[in-house]
Structures are given as C-alpha cells and as structure tokens.
Subunit: 468 residues, 2 copies
C-alpha cells in the first residue's frame, strides 16, 4: 500500500519535502493556512518534476497523490511520517506538535525541519517527546541529499530507525548527529561564512558577486565532492594530515577574521547587500535563477554519479534499489525515463550524441536481462558493441518522457544483434537503433562465445522476438 | 615566440603553476633547492597532463619545455612572468624578491602565491615595489580557475594589466581584490570554517568524515555553482534578498559559533583529527586521493561547461579562443583531443555512447567550416543529423589522445553525407562513422536547402573530397 506523509507548512522547505515524497511515490497530505499555499506548491512541484527524475537513469515510482487539508487533525490521519516546517518560533512549534500528537498514530514519527532548535527544546512539554526528532534538510530539498537527523538525548531507537529508513527511501542521506547542539553541524559553517561575508561587503573589500566568484571558482568545487578534511588531507601531500595541521595550525592564532564581531544589522547594510545582489542577478527572476540552480545541480550530481563519488555515489546506491526485472513482454521495455538537462544542445533538443547513451543504456538493461551482469563481467566476460546504425526520426527535449522497446533479432554463438525503438509516451518513434554486439573475453580482449547460461537466454530471446 | 615563466619554489602550489603554464604552451623554468624537486614535479605533471586537457574539447597548445636551474639569477633569464611559491615566511620572501629583482627584466611581473601576506608587506624594501603583486591560486592550481589578484595600494596599472592578461591566457579567473586585507577573500572563509570544524571534532559533535559529508551532500553542491549570495537570493524566493536578510539577520546575534575562541592546538587535537582522517581515507594513498579529486573536479567542471554556467562558462570562454580554422587539407582534421574521464564505463574503455559525442563534435567543426556557425543558426537555419552508422574497431581509454579525419561525400541541396575516421596518434582507426544530415529551417522544423554561401562551400568540399 502507498504510504502517506503529512507536510505541516508548505513554504520553500515544506514544498520541497512535499515534492520529494510525492515523486518518490508517497501520498502527500499538506496543511498550510496560507491562502497562496496551493499556487506556491505548484511552482515548487513544477521545478521538482522537471529536475528530480533527471538525477535517476531509471523509471521513477508513480507519483503519489497530493491533497490539501484544513486542519492538523485531518492532515495527519493515517500518515507514517509528519514533516514540520513552520516558522522558527518555539511557541509556534510547540503548539503544532501538541495538535499533531493529539491525533497522530503512535507509530508514526514527527521530523522537524528546524535549523536552529535542538530536539530537547522541541520535545519540551510534548505528550510523547520520543516521537519528535530533527530532520533538517537543505534547499532545494528535492535535489540535495543531506538531512541532519538529530534524535537528541531522549529518543526511542525505533523512531530513529524509522526516520533513517524513511529518509533513505526518499533518496536522502540521513547524517545522524551524535549530540544535540545549536544549529546542528552544517548551519554553523554557513553562519560563520555569512558573518565574514557581511563584513567583507560592509568594509568594501568585495561585492556580493566577487564573493560568490571567490567561492564557486575555487573551494566551492573542492567542497562539492570531498568536503573540508579530505581536501586538506590531499593538500598535505605525502607528509600527510599531521604535516598539514602543523602548517595550518598557527594560522588559528592570526587575527584574520572578524567572526564574533557582529556588524550592525541596519537598513544601510541591508540596502548595500540587496543593491549589489540586484546588480549581480537582478536581470533574472527568482524562477529563472531556481531553474539555473537546479540545472547546474542536476548536471554536477550526474557528473559525480558517473564517477560514483560523493553525492553521485548516493544516487547510484538509491538507483540500484529501483531496478525492476524486465519481464517477458515482446518487445522488452529496456529504458523508461526523461531526458536530463545535460543531454540537450544549442538547437534546444536532445543532442545527437546522447542517442548513443539511450541505446547503450538499453543494451545494458538487455545484458542484465540475459545474465551478463556485474558478477559476470567481474569474472572476465562481457559484450562489446561492434556496430550501431541510428536513425533520428523526431526531436525530443529536456524533461520529455520516453521509453525504449528492444528486440533480439540474432543470438547465435558470440553474435548478438538487437533492435531498439525509442518512443514518446504516445508511441511516436523518436529514433531507432540496430546494434551488433560481440561477446568478448575481457582478459584476452578477443571475441568468444558466452557462458552456456547466458547463451541459452540470448537464444531464447532471439527465438521469441524474431517473428514477433 | 613561446614565452617563458619562472617558477620559484616547486612544491604542491609551485608545481601546480608549472603544470598550468607548461600545458598552456609556456616554457617553464624552475628554481627549487629541494633535491627531490624534479621527482615531485614529475608527479604533479603526471596528474596535470592527464586531467587539464580533459577540461577542454579542443586541441591543446604544444606543451612548453620544463627546465630546472640552480640559481635565481639563471631561472629568471628572459622570462615574462615570475611566480613565487616559497614558504610563508616574510624574511624568506623578501630575500627571494631582492635576488629576483637584481636580474629580472623590468617589464616582467612577479606574482606571489602567498595566502597570508598583503602586497604592501611583500613590497616593503623592494627595488621596484610595483613589480610585485599577489596572485593567490587554489589547489589543484592546474584545474581550479580562481586566482586572487591583489595589486595593493602601490601598483603600476601596466603590471596589473599584464597580470590579468597572463592569468587569463593560462585559463584562470583573476579576481582583482579592491583593497588589501589579511588572507585576501577566500581564505578568510576557509579559516572561519576550519576553526568551527576543529571545535566540532574536539567536542565530539562530529567526526571528520561526518563533517565532510555535511558539506559535500549539501551546501558544497550549492556553492560550487552559485556561491553564497546568489544561493540566498534564490532561497529568499519571490520576496527577494531583503526578505531573506530580514529572516536571517537576527541569527547573527545568536551564540551559534565558537569562532574567535581558539581550540588549544596540542598533540591531542592533532592526533584526534589525524586519526579520524585515517579512518575516513587511510585506505587510499595520497596519489589515489589526488586522482579521485581531479576526476571529480573534471567531471563537475565539464558538467558546468555543458550548462555554460559558473566555472564551466569560464572554460567555454577560454576554449573559444583556442579554435583554429580547419584549413584545406583532405581529409579535414575536425577533432584533436584526449578522452575525458567522464566518457569511460565499467569495462574501463570509452563508452559506446561517447562515440556519438566524438562524431557529433566532428560534425560541429565541419558545420562551422562551411559557415553554419552560431550566427547562421541564430538566424534560423541549421543541419540536423538524420542517420548515423558507427563501426567500433578498437578500444580507447581515459587520457588517450585521438583525432578525427572527416570527408564530405555528398553535398547536394539539403543533403550532406559525411564520413569520419577516429584515429590514434599512430594512425590506427578506432571507429568510423557515416553521417547523413539534412538542412532545416529552425522555425518550420522542415528540411530546406542551405543559404547559397553555405551550399557553395558544401559543394566545393564534396567535389574536393569525393575522389581523394
């Protein structure tokens, strides 16, 4: 049965949660008294529907239903998870928790998106404190995998296990924080950098755009894939981490930063920052900026995925759980997905070169279907493609859904010939591919017949497909 | 004439500079009294030769010569740029500058890689203070584009212009800092984050690995492409930057960080950090970690390049300056490059799908050659590929060089048929492609003949190539 999550507060963060749950196949029930809530969620969903599926090279789960409800009592009915993203005011959160707990299934868990409060503060006075944990996400919630899971001292291990399971199932990385602390982990860094940045702008050392460039052309790229300590371990070189620390340690004593000094937060500072930000990005609407951000994140995360590193390794692990057996239909449907943004070109349509990707993925699915899987390859056998013949019949664009219908036309000895049709959801053929493959021994790099069990499956497919 | 740069100090940073200059076609002269200098540089060069060319989809300049010299007097002979990367001790730097300036061409400029000193401190007591500027890079210097250019109050605009020109030519982004300040810009942020991270580890809130994950699965991905302020502008949503600041402003008063408190930097803290770092990454050597870092950076920067965003937009701008006319040889050499790391698959060789990229790039070069360039396309005309036939004849791997020889076999009216051979440097054919293209009107999306000047060039190529 499809599970349901209740989303309390449907702003940028709550909306991001709603999108992630729904696109991962959960039914989503939303409570937000804002009369604009439905319109705002629609905009977040439009961004998320376009970008989240691009992170995966698989068919996504069927999207869950999204419903709006007028009371907390109603919205939490039958849900397995509640995500609270109301404003950061403790008395508001306490009131909301009390109302939730008056109606919620005792087995369900409440995750709070709070960035500033500790679980003990949230739990104070609750009917069941152990039902409340911090699950602090990062914007855009539908793309970034990090969620800080802070159970606090008073917790029920079963609730924490459930939180980990739910977060992992919807593609997030629950980083369990060992001890509760103001602002958890990541926001302490963001706060430190924010303060320093305000000083640099206020003192006229750098503009907002110059600071952004100082980050994104330099250490931002390092941090996106290795973080802080592993980057420094590498910087230490052969002499190692201790050597690096010995070099960098004394710098701690230097008065480089004005970190605990708080710049006076007045209209003048706000106008200065907002004005510079307008100069930098004012030619783009927030919607356009969101689209650029999401496209960049998708492209970088897909690049890391191809390296099986950092956030990309998380995606690969999540994706492995999504693979469905192909079944026995003729033709086999080997690919079912949308066109990701990194596949399009200056003509605005899917680049010629990416059709090769589509048909290569179709061949991979076919390979696994016949038993030429990771283990088979690790044991020194594989199929190599010798020749392909692609016909480009119609255009397709970023975000468009398609599938690939595949047939085995020849399966004899070391030879395999496949025929693929890439199709729109309406059945129009976008492109076709004839693919000639040879089975090879990966040690000798010479062609040879497949092992008997693979050969038997290839022959069976060829027999079933050739006249169909 | 090939220009020369002198590299004073050939460690991780100096070696990275040497690699970037040499791979961008400069001759490099190195002075480093370390008897291991040549071996160490060889290791940096091996990493750089593999990864830097992967950032570009073009033929690279011929690599400059690298020579080692025993004195500063000798190393600066005839050079147009000196890059100083000696240890961060002011008296050492002053001594090195005096020796350099006793022998250096007055038109050349000295850039210092210092992360901590201000230009006025470096310039104090120099024969010509205006010849010295700060050009502070980020590791790995051969991949990351950021260089902080700090001229200081006493500067010669011609020296600053030359610094900008040299840095841009070797593919870097010179961020000119408006006023000198301890640690320039980026390292102030790094210092703030480093302090906070040491506290979190010391207090047992998080391990080094947990902190790295908190960065790379969350805000690290945001910062790699938009930096700090543009990210927050987006987070502010429709209400804009002022609204965001009003929300976040009060947090400045909260005691979230322990930023100016300095943790006691003793053996216990060093052992704690180094031990956790060993647990996290000790199964990999520094060389292996460097390789992973470089592969990840290349893959992410190539992803941003495809989006023409952030560091990828810098690469595209730099690459545009590298395009050479194809000339009149038969066949035309349309592609000359190495296989980037994001093109390989689990079999360890260039993935089937990327051959489509190679031949699509070859077609793009051919298009520009016949006058179907950005302007032509912007005016509503282009060629679309209708059919390709690829034969895969030999394997190729990440870092391997190759070229593509292209012929126009048919060029009549709206039809164009090209034939491409992808070849190793030794001339072995890796793959071939027959490509059928149709000229289209981008408004009607229907085929039509090209404009007369393009048609004339296509016909001339077909006549020259068909019997050759």
């Amino acid at each position: 049965m499809t599970r349901s999550a209740a989303i309390i507060g449907g702003g940028v963060i709550g909306g991001g949660w709603a999108a992630r749950f729904a696109l991962m196949g959960w039914n989503v029930r939303i409570f937000d008294p804002d009369p604009q809530a439905e319109r705002k969620l629609g905009e977040v969903m439009a961004n998320a529907r376009r970008s989240l599926p691009m992170l995966y090279d698989r068919d996504m789960p069927a999207e869950g239903t999204i419903t709006f409800h007028n009371t907390i009592a109603e919205v939490v009915e039958g849900v397995a998870w509640v995500q609270e993203s109301v404003p950061e005011r403790l008395e508001v959160k306490h009131k909301v928790f009390a109302e939730i707990q008056a109606h919620l299934d005792p087995e369900a868990v409440i995750g709070s998106s709070t960035s500033g409060f500790k679980p003990s503060e949230l739990q104070a006075g609750a009917k069941d404190p152990t039902q409340i944990v911090v699950t602090h996400p990062f914007n855009p919630v539908y793309l970034l995998p990090l969620v800080e899971l802070v159970p606090g001292d008073t917790h029920d291990p079963r609730a924490v296990d459930w939180a980990r399971e739910v977060m992992t199932e919807i593609g997030m990385y629950p980083l369990q924080v060992r001890a509760e602390i103001d602002a958890h982990i990541a926001d302490r860094f963001l706060e430190a950098v924010w303060r320093e940045a305000l000083w640099l702008v206020k003192d006229g050392i750098a503009t907002t755009e110059e600071i952004d460039n100082a980050i994104r052309y330099g250490f931002g790229l390092r941090w996106a894939q290795m973080g802080l300590f592993e980057t420094y371990r590498v910087a230490g070189g052969e002499a190692g981490m201790k050597h690096f620390m010995a070099q960098f340690g004394p710098a701690l004593e230097w008065p480089w930063t004005k970190l605990m000094d708080v710049p006076e937060f007045n209209d003048e500072l706000v106008d200065l920052i907002a004005g510079q930000s307008d100069d930098q990005s004012g030619h783009l609407t927030i919607r356009e900026l969101e689209r650029l951000r999401d496209d960049n994140l998708v492209a970088m995360m897909r690049a890391l995925k191809q390296q099986d590193a950092a956030a990309g390794a998380l995606l690969n692990a999540h994706q492995r759980g999504m693979r469905q057996p192909l079944g026995d239909a003729v033709p086999l449907v080997t690919v079912r997905r949308t066109v990701p943004v990194d596949w399009t070109d200056y003509n605005g349509h899917m680049n010629e070169s990416r059709y090769g990707q589509v048909f290569s993925d179709a061949a991979d699915a076919l390979m696994i279907h016949v038993g030429c899987d990771e283990t088979y390859i690790a044991n020194g056998n594989s199929y190599f493609t010798a020749e392909t013949h692609v016909k480009y019949l119609a255009e397709t664009h970023a975000g468009d859904a398609f599938d690939v219908a595949s047939r085995v036309l020849i399966g004899e000895g070391k030879k395999l010939k496949a025929y693929h049709e890439m199709r729109t959801p309406a059945g129009e053929i976008i492109a076709t591919c004839e693919q000639f493959m040879l089975h090879v021994n990966l040690t000798t790099r010479k062609s040879c017949p497949p092992l008997p069990e693979v050969l038997a499956r290839v022959e069976a497919l060829a027999a079933a497909h050739k006249d169909a």
